[in-house]
Symmetry: C2
Subunit: 107 residues, 2 copies
């Protein structure tokens, strides 16, 4: 993992929400997807991932349900809500703005 915790901090929830825009998914899958998309440069730590799920569900951005796997380990699937979609959109806007600001302050 090459990105520092403090630089990713605050983006975990948005990353998860973005993934869920493409359809319901579960923790392990989401993390594998992140690893794949960043060519192994980044992965969420499990504790970080699951605490983010808890927050997102508590504030109504996602809902969850158990998958009915015939075989293999059980999976808890997550769905994004309409609130979650709105929060995602806002977070992306905030990120675009923050990027510009930080760039202006660092260089």
């Amino acid at each position: 993992m090459s990105i520092a915790s403090d630089l990713i901090r605050g983006h975990t929830e948005t990353i998860i929400l973005f993934h869920l825009l493409e359809g319901d998914s579960y923790g392990y899958q989401i993390n594998k997807s992140i690893q794949f998309r960043t060519q192994g440069q980044y992965e969420l730590k499990e504790a970080t991932l699951y605490s983010a799920f808890r927050r997102l569900e508590q504030n109504g951005c996602i809902t969850s349900y158990w998958g009915n796997e015939e075989t293999g380990a059980r999976r808890r699937y997550y769905s994004i809500t309409s609130l979650g979609r709105a929060v995602y959109e806002q977070n992306v806007r905030d990120w675009q703005e923050a990027k510009t600001l930080i760039d202006a302050l660092l260089t």
Copy 2:
């Protein structure tokens, strides 16, 4: 202030180091400069600023000395060290990389 704490987290020290590249300065001045450069969109909280100074001095990125003001409140000036310059350069590289990664994970 429009930027969330979690998005700025980890950049405070780099922002300070960047400011000091242009010459010795002191806390109040650095903060005013940030406010000016961001047109009031951002300011460091004083507690954040001074705790960052403490960390930076402890790990050898900056040194400090009292200014000899004839009048007005006393000022503690800070100088960037060569280590500080190197850390700044590395942090900016990390930021460029993180930006790309986060962009890829959010959109």
